[in-house]
């Protein structure tokens, strides 16, 4: 049994140590907000934050997540930055199909938690690993800036 700390709660799960965190979350724990997109750390749909750092859960063995604080889309609204980001996404109507947005919101939250006033170049650096096929990038950029000004 492996014990994980996810969104502040402890979860015990019977998983092989090399099983990617993505499939542990989705298939064993039923937390389907984190998405499968490529399986190769190329698209960012599976982004979760480990100790506040964005990680591609599709290539992160579950054993590497043990002992770290795992944050997922299901819990990110409970943090003040995550809540602001979600609200900014709603205020600016970022989403279209929405499938990549869990990963986008996790990446944006990690960025803003470390850097409350990111420049365009900071945003490029933090967000370029997250693909959106609907093409919501201009709104994501605007929403990140909006979140820095947003109410808590």
């Amino acid at each position: 049994m492996i014990t994980l700390t996810i969104n502040g709660g402890r979860h015990s799960v019977d998983a092989p140590p090399d099983m990617p965190l993505l499939w542990v979350l989705r298939d064993l724990l039923g937390m389907t907000g984190t998405k499968f997109g490529c399986g190769a750390a190329l698209c960012g749909a599976c982004t979760v934050n480990l100790d506040g750092i964005p990680r591609r859960s599709c290539v992160t063995p579950v054993s590497a997540a043990v002992g770290h604080a795992i944050a997922t889309i299901e819990g990110i609204g409970a943090t003040s930055v995550g809540k602001k980001v979600q609200q900014a996404w709603l205020d600016l109507e970022v989403v279209q199909c929405g499938y990549c947005q869990s990963g986008q919101i996790m990446a944006a939250t990690a960025l803003l938690a470390k850097n409350p006033s990111p420049t365009d170049s900071d945003i490029d650096q933090a967000m370029s690993g997250n693909i959106c096929r609907c093409g919501t990038y201009t709104r994501i950029r605007a929403a990140i800036k909006h979140a820095t000004r947003g109410k808590p």
């Binding site: 298939d27 907000g33 997109g37 199909c97 499938y99 096929r133 919501t136």
Partner: protein, 713 residues
């Protein structure tokens, strides 16, 4: 369930517990039939508790239909969007038929243009009947009553009755033959940027896509189909795969092997451990060059004439200058963010399917065909789609999933890896075009010909739409050329691709034709030594709406203003007959010495007639442009030895945040008929970029993707 008689195009029935069920069905207008509250022939359901349910016959894949359709219904029903809940429609080819396709389909940017009036009529009829129920109760003049936010109000006496209290009686009333729709100037919801109803669930992880389905006892499977297109499984050694912990079963079909497991990780490991010997079949040596050679040969033969004005041959012969060119557009993959997936539970007497489909009725029909069960034993649950772009207008993956699930005890979720999703996509066709034009001494075009070579998607996908040898989708845009040229001939050479499965891809025919037309008109302007904006403008005397968007885009983009060295500005115009929308775009790019294109700024002007939700229209243009930029700069699927060479996002390059330009969208507002908006942003982008590249470098790129050609140019 208490069936009630059906009259005209409306279905009304008393709900169990007495509610109102009402819907408009354009396919069965005038027919008499019965329906019960539980039957899905409805767009509006109102319970005696006052709850208003709107049933969504068009599926949501990001385009905003789960907001636009409710806006149309709620506007006339006189309820607020905060008072409704939405329900996915079940499969039903008649009752949820798309008015353009005549069966249940969401695609081709048709939802608003096809349902603008039917949805309003459904809402208005329900409202009229609820008011009639109140009038009867109060015995007052109907003209003294009105509805607002789900309540009927008799203003003189200040009496009020909620829809819930009126629903049971309204369900028994005769259905009015004609209802009065609101005047546009009275709209409260239509034309406003109402908040998207699907957004909240999509920012907190609770939105349910079909890949998120979880069922008791469900297994998870992943598949490998023959890497050579059209190949078959010759032999499978599954000993190592079976030894993977969590792997439960290997299912071998003629052309695909599935590994069924407790979770996706075990399934993926099992798949990697399989030793499959493939029978490659006849396609094992096919490459892209073979495809292009056949297309080029077909382009030497005359096609079916789709548009003819004047005598183009004579006009070309008599022209002061003649230009000829060949344009090519490659196979393209969709790579929607949600990989292809479908969950199926086959039981002896029934079959249940959970998927995300743009063609729900077809998903049901294929499950019936594969299982041999009657249609009414097939239950299909649709979900939010993690992107469609035309991919989910095909039901191949549902067919495959049901075939696999027939061999599996209990429910099984089949998920394609991204590699499988790319390599076994149904690709945008490779198109090959020969164009020619004649100019008079002043540089004005006297003749225009386009011979378009490609497959007919419609002949396969909607056979009745393929008529007289013409595919209206492949030709869309080409036959609607708006430029005032005295002699025009457009020909279509249908050339079915023998190896590669081809289908719709955001804009399909229009996307390809707009690239050809708008690049070539740019060539004519250059040959005439005229400004490309002024040249187009001078040819649009008979197309005022097109000229207006062209002028607006040019004005907003600062057309003619000096750019920094190394940058170029390109302009393009888009009009498609079946969308009825006009879009002009100005693109500003920089091209590096090594041929890398950086898109700095995109300005679009849009006239799509009546706008239901301006912010969603803008979002569709923004997203369509970004989809179009990646496609134009890098998009291509190539074949080598019968296999697709691309496999995942490392070699299927799409636009990313750091490459995304500033995008401005300017809407022209009027009350013309509403036009389609899901695809035009993509369609107009490739030629604007190609023309900007020409302005920046002097290189005319006639074959997509642009960067590959710039590197070899």
């Amino acid at each position: 369930m208490s069936p009630l008689s059906r009259r005209e195009f409306l279905v009304v029935s008393a709900a169990a517990g007495g509610g109102l069920l009402l819907g408009w069905s354009w396919r069965t207008a005038g027919a008499r039939e019965t329906a019960s509250v539980f039957a899905p022939n409805a767009f509006i359901r109102i319970g005696t508790d006052g709850r208003v349910t709107l049933i969504m016959g068009q599926v949501e894949m990001g385009q905003g239909t789960y907001t636009a359709m409710p806006q149309l219904l709620a506007e006339e029903l006189e309820v607020g969007l905060d008072q409704v809940r939405l329900e996915d429609a079940p499969p039903d080819e008649q009752r949820y038929a798309n008015p353009v396709f005549h069966f249940q389909a969401t695609g081709g940017s048709t939802s608003v243009l096809g349902l603008y009036e039917p949805m309003r009529r459904a809402g208005a009829t329900a409202r009229t009947m609820l008011i009639a129920a109140a009038v009867e109760r109060w015995q007052v003049d109907p003209a003294t009553c009105h509805a607002k936010r789900g309540v009927v109000i008799h203003a003189p006496s200040r009496r009020r009755l909620g829809y819930g209290a009126l629903a049971a009686r309204a369900a028994e009333l005769p259905i009015p033959d004609n209802v009065t729709l609101k005047r546009p100037e009275d709209f409260k919801l239509i034309g406003t940027s109402a908040k998207r109803l699907d957004s909240p669930a999509k920012v907190n992880g609770t939105a349910q896509y079909s890949i998120d389905v979880r069922l008791p006892g469900m297994k998870i499977a992943t598949v490998a189909a023959s890497p050579v297109l059209g190949g078959k499984v010759a032999a499978v050694d599954d000993a190592k795969a079976r030894a993977v912990p969590g792997v439960r079963q290997i299912v071998r079909l003629e052309e695909v092997v599935a590994v069924v497991a407790d979770h996706m990780w075990a399934a993926k490991q099992g798949l990697a451990a399989l030793a499959i010997r493939w029978d490659d079949g006849p396609n094992a040596t096919i490459g892209t060059e073979d495809v292009v050679r056949e297309l080029a040969a077909a382009a030497e033969t005359p096609g079916v004439v789709a548009r003819k004005e004047g005598d183009a041959t004579a006009a070309l012969a008599g022209a002061a200058a003649k230009l000829e060119a060949v344009y090519e557009a490659p196979f393209l993959a969709h790579v929607a963010m949600e990989p292809i997936n479908c969950t199926v539970h086959v039981r002896p007497e029934s079959c249940e399917v959970w998927t995300g489909s743009q063609v729900l009725g077809r998903a049901q029909a294929t499950a019936a065909q594969v299982t041999g069960l009657p249609l009414d034993k097939i239950v299909v649950h649709n979900h939010l789609l993690g992107g469609g772009f035309g991919r989910r207008l095909e039901h191949d993956y549902v067919t495959q999933a049901v075939r696999i699930a027939k061999h599996v005890e209990g429910p099984v979720k089949i998920i394609w890896t991204r590699e499988e999703d790319v390599q076994h996509d149904v690709f945008r066709p490779y198109y090959y075009d020969r164009v020619a034009a004649g100019l008079d001494a002043a540089g004005r075009p006297t003749a225009w010909t386009q011979r378009l070579v490609g497959p007919s998607i419609l002949a396969r996908w909607a056979p009745p739409a393929f008529q007289n040898g013409l595919d209206g989708d492949a030709l869309d845009g080409a036959v609607h050329l708006l430029y005032d040229i005295p002699a025009i001939q457009v020909e279509y050479v249908r050339h079915e691709e023998p190896v590669v499965n081809t289908g719709f891809w955001r804009g399909v025919g229009v996307t390809h034709n707009t690239f050809v037309i708008e690049s070539f008109i740019d060539e004519l302007a250059a040959a005439a030594k005229q400004d490309p904006f002024e040249y187009r403008r001078g040819l649009l005397g008979k197309a005022p709406r097109a000229r207006a968007v062209l002028e607006l885009a040019a004005q907003q983009a600062g057309w003619g203003a000096t750019l920094p060295a190394g940058r170029g500005r390109g302009i393009a115009l888009m009009y498609a007959g079946h969308w009825g929308s006009y879009v002009a775009q100005v693109a500003e790019v920089a091209v590096s010495p090594s041929g890398e294109v950086r898109v700095h700024r995109i300005v679009c002007a849009v006239d799509c007639g009546t706008v239901v939700n301006p912010d969603i229209v803008k979002a569709q243009i923004e997203g369509g442009v970004i989809f179009g930029i990646g496609g134009a700069l890098w998009g291509e699927v190539t074949l080598k030895n019968g296999r697709v060479e691309q496999s995942n996002f490392h070699n299927v390059r799409v636009l990313r945040m750091n490459e995304s330009p500033a995008i401005e969208v300017h809407l022209v507002r009027n009350f013309e008929a509403p036009g389609g908006m899901g695809e035009p942003g993509t369609a107009v982008t490739a030629p604007a970029l190609a023309n900007a590249v020409f302005a920046a470098t002097g290189k005319r790129i006639r074959k997509l993707p642009l960067e590959r050609q710039l590197r070899s140019a």
